[in-house]
């Protein structure tokens, strides 16, 4: 392992690199001068002008509106796509579906944006809709990009727990066992499932997935008492869920990165 001091230095350097432009922006936003890099004293003048500028305020509220609309659409489409990706192993054209559902994650946005624009132009030519580019075309485009991100997150979450949990939840009921030994086995399995599901639910905040709170507190506590530090996955059954938080994070930052660029092309 390289020396700790060197690693820490690289880490600090990396963070400086990531934050330098943002800090410089924030500092110079309080600059009295009109010139970006000439410091002429502290002033909140530009913030005042921001509030007075109707065009900017209108643009900001329009951004919020478009973001809310496309996020809602992407959520509906992406969730269904994510469920399909995670749970439906075989259907006609699955390969194509998998490709289409995840390609927007990596496709250069200039290509997707341009092709959508050409689609909208062609559609207007054929059926008269959409009439020019506007809010609806931006929303449709963002929903299409966004659904891939939702689909990946949903799929990762669903893959984190066993499909049999769901089936167990659907078919679950007391007194279904017929013989003592399978009954005990099933009870143990069911109990493990429930405890684990409980854990999944707690960790992913999907409270509705909890079957019976406090089903068996001892087992539950055993599972939940994982030390906060690093643990090999086999010591702590719920531990394998932790890295999954990275995927949504990755996706969230990517989405914000790409969003600002695509607007210009489709608008």
């Amino acid at each position: 392992m390289p020396r700790l001091g060197l690693l820490a230095a690289v880490l600090v350097l990396g963070y400086l690199f990531l934050y330098a432009p943002i800090v410089s922006l924030i500092v110079y936003s309080f600059n009295a001068s009109r010139l970006v890099t000439v410091w002429a004293g502290f002033s909140t003048r530009w913030y005042g002008e921001l509030l007075d500028n109707d065009a900017i305020r209108g643009a900001a509220s329009l951004s919020l509106e478009i973001a809310a609309l496309s996020a809602s659409l992407a959520l509906i489409l992406g969730t269904t796509a994510g469920f399909a990706l995670a749970q439906q192993r075989r259907f006609a054209g699955r390969t194509l579906f998998v490709f289409m559902a995840t390609a927007p994650l990596v496709m250069p946005e200039v290509i997707t944006g341009l092709s959508l624009l050409l689609l909208f132009v062609a559609l207007e030519d054929w059926i008269g809709w959409p009439a020019g580019r506007g809010i609806e075309t931006i929303v449709l485009a963002h929903a299409t990009f966004g659904m891939a991100f939702v689909a990946v997150i949903v799929q990762a979450r669903l893959a984190a727990f066993d499909r049999s949990l769901e089936e167990a939840a659907l078919g679950r009921g007391p007194g279904r066992c017929c013989s003592p030994s399978p009954c005990r086995d099933r009870a143990v399995a069911g109990h493990r499932l429930a405890a684990r599901l409980h854990l999944v639910a707690r960790r992913s905040r999907h409270r509705q997935l909890r079957l019976r709170p406090g089903l068996d507190d001892a087992a539950d506590d055993h599972l939940l008492q994982c030390p906060a530090g690093r643990q090999p996955a086999d010591q702590c059954p719920g531990d394998d869920l932790r890295p999954r938080r990275v995927v949504p994070m990755l996706v969230a930052c990517w989405l914000t990165l790409r969003r600002s660029k695509e607007g210009g092309l489709v608008a």
Binding site: A103, V106, M107
Partner: protein, 298 residues
């Protein structure tokens, strides 16, 4: 009908919605781009003649024109720009890996209460608009920008350094923009790694650097692959960075595509897009596999 299969039936039905949506808004656009790339540039609206028309009633008239692709192959400008994009994106990927690997390596073993804030700090910059952050670099790098002012004031240089509109500024901004896409998958695999393996190697007499080469590095290869592809593919198509921070020697194909389109040469722009797509299909398929792999191991 068992509950499970009932759920599957409903799922099948629900699948139609995203499937149809993607066919119309993701696949169909590419078909249109492909069709237009076979058309011929013309003056008017639309600025091309379609390769397939029904002008004489129901009998289709084919007017396929491969000239746009000929143009791409014949004009050294396009080939140079493609290679330029690949080189710039490749360089940025390598630099991201060089900077990102130690960062991920430093974050992964940190105590839990440090780890999440450290990861948040990687992601936080992306909550600021991409365009604004690229503009901020202009203020830092330009002739009378922050860095040059500092260097001049401290007497290190007596001429402002040419930091903007060259390969340096484009690479810098590419690394800056895509660094988190390298760090996050790397972190995911490094964090997952069982420390017992490294300890075992050390116990068996491996020196620290050898442990890294023999154990850590090979085990983090899925993360490296995912990170490199996540940086490389979008970087090849980048057009904002070369537009704002680039110069004549940093023309990237995304920028060329953008310019062709806005000079109303739709067929040429479409051909450029299709050629770019063909170049990127293999990396995209690889990225999907790498992502799935990283997901499966994570």
């Amino acid at each position: 009908m068992s509950p499970a299969s009932r759920g599957l039936g409903a799922g099948r039905l629900a699948l139609c919605l995203p499937y149809a949506w993607l066919l119309v808004l993701f696949l169909a656009p590419f078909a249109i781009v492909a069709a237009i790339s076979l058309g011929e540039s013309a003056i008017g609206i639309p600025p091309y003649t379609p390769p397939l028309s029904f002008a004489d009633g129901l009998v289709p008239t084919f007017n396929v024109n491969l000239g746009n692709y000929g143009l791409l192959l014949g004009d050294s400008l396009y080939i140079r720009n493609y290679l330029n994009s690949l080189a710039l994106a490749g360089g940025a990927t390598a630099l991201c890996l060089l900077l990102g690997y130690p960062m991920a390596y430093a974050i992964a073993p940190a105590p839990a209460r440090w780890r999440n804030p450290l990861l948040m700090l990687i992601i936080l910059p992306f909550w600021t608009s991409f365009l604004i952050r690229v503009y901020a670099w202009i203020g830092i790098l330009k002739t009378n920008g922050l860095i040059n002012n500092l260097l001049l004031a401290s007497g290190i240089v007596d001429q402002p350094l040419p930091l903007l509109n060259n390969v340096f500024s484009v690479e810098l901004a590419l690394v800056y923009s895509y660094l988190p896409f390298m760090i996050l998958p790397l972190y995911a695999t490094l964090e997952r790694m069982d420390p017992a393996l490294r300890e075992a190697a050390a116990d068996l007499g491996c020196r620290p650097f050898r442990v890294f080469l023999a154990v850590t590095l090979p085990l983090s290869l899925p993360g490296i692959a995912a990170g490199c592809l996540l940086v490389f593919i979008p970087a090849v198509g980048e057009f904002v960075i070369p537009d704002l921070l680039g110069g004549p020697d940093t023309l990237m194909i995304g920028k060329v595509l953008w310019d062709e389109f806005f000079t109303n040469r739709d067929p040429v722009a479409s051909a450029v897009a299709i050629a770019m797509l063909v170049l990127l299909v293999a990396p995209i398929a690889l990225a999907q596999r790498a992502l799935r792999h990283a997901e499966a191991t994570a």
